[in-house]
Point group: C2
Chain length 219, copies 2
Amino acid sequence: MVNSEAKTPRERYRAQVRTEIKQRAWEQIATAGASALSLNAIAKQMGMSGPALYRYFGGRDDLITELVRDAYRSLADAFRATSEASGADVTALAHALRAWALRDPQRYFLIYGTPVPGYQAPDDTTAISSEIMATLLDACAALPSDGPATPFEAHLEGHRDWAAGHPAPPAALHRALAFWTRLHGVLSLELAGHFSGMGIDPAQLFAAELDDLAGTSAT
Amino acid sequence: MVNSEAKTPRERYRAQVRTEIKQRAWEQIATAGASALSLNAIAKQMGMSGPALYRYFGGRDDLITELVRDAYRSLADAFRATSEASGADVTALAHALRAWALRDPQRYFLIYGTPVPGYQAPDDTTAISSEIMATLLDACAALPSDGPATPFEAHLEGHRDWAAGHPAPPAALHRALAFWTRLHGVLSLELAGHFSGMGIDPAQLFAAELDDLAGTSAT
DNA sequence: TCCGTGCGGTTATAACTTCTAACGAACGTG
DNA sequence: CACGTTCGTTAGAAGTTATAACCGCACGGA
């Protein structure tokens, strides 16, 4: 059987260089954005010149795709960890999401930011995305659901393939979607700086939205 | 006094070329995103070569800044028009926002998408942004406000500078912010294609969020 | 009407970028 | 020890933004 770690010394070295390249790329993205990522600059920082990086990544797009994959993986891990630590609590998940986003805004935008029109995300990222959604659904299913069924929940009843067989009631599905979209709404505008000139505290707006989501007022 | 339109034939020509450049830029952005905007390609399309465009725009960043300005202006006009036509109705504003966004997703992302870390928006765009917020506040102030004051509304009481003197109660300010962030949350995820593989209808999710905002459940 | 200023467009050039191709050296495995 | 894969190099093509220098024509004042 093939052991994933440290087989040949060449593979060890190759993995090490790959992670260093990605690390430099993350630093560069955090300071100047993903559009300003330069393979030449990374190579120069690492002491080697230009086309050497093409031994490790197919090109700029491949590197960015790998970074997107890592970002998804990091968010999924953070979500899973806080879910296990807090017993599937939605407010804990929300604060974990905000902390993860504030830790590196450009990493958040790499996942949820402006898409490149032609770009198609690799299918494994959608798999990780559904893993994130699964832990979110676990937390939302634990909330009490009251109120009458809305027309949108009737729509969800017939379109719950994205839940991947999760046995959550339609109200919980709706809660999960609202959790996702509302917190993303506040977070993305905050990270983009749209609140900076307004004087309001984004954390309090985030908390207000979270109170509304976790409170008794379903949908 | 200086008439703004059509003074000298030189200025007429200059304005015409400028608008044609911006038009080609919009087409290019709509199909390949703002990061793929190429001055050379625009010049080649217009039959003139390369550096001629620098007579009309200071550079790529200046052109994009101008496009951002136009995008803000377009959204503000659309908002104002529907507000006047519908009598400051929030659902009409919401549908106008969604239609405006779906008409050219990259134009929406040019305003509300991933920001470039170093970039500072010119102050006139923030002026237009506050104009948009004003018409939104007009519509939110027309809604009935019930329920007790939340801690966030208490925070808003002390930080209402962004309302630019608009005489809306804190509940209306909160409504306007929720309107903005929630609809942006659904819209940006929809435009980015994050719902495409899930099978759900973004329009119905948008409608559900709008029902929650315009309904009786304040905050 | 005529003439000069200045505007618009050109080519050339510099400094970048991604990415391919060909070559050499070093490393590790048989 | 020798051979082969892999890594890093330099060279080069095809792009990009942006600046500089130059030329001609059109516009506007006299």
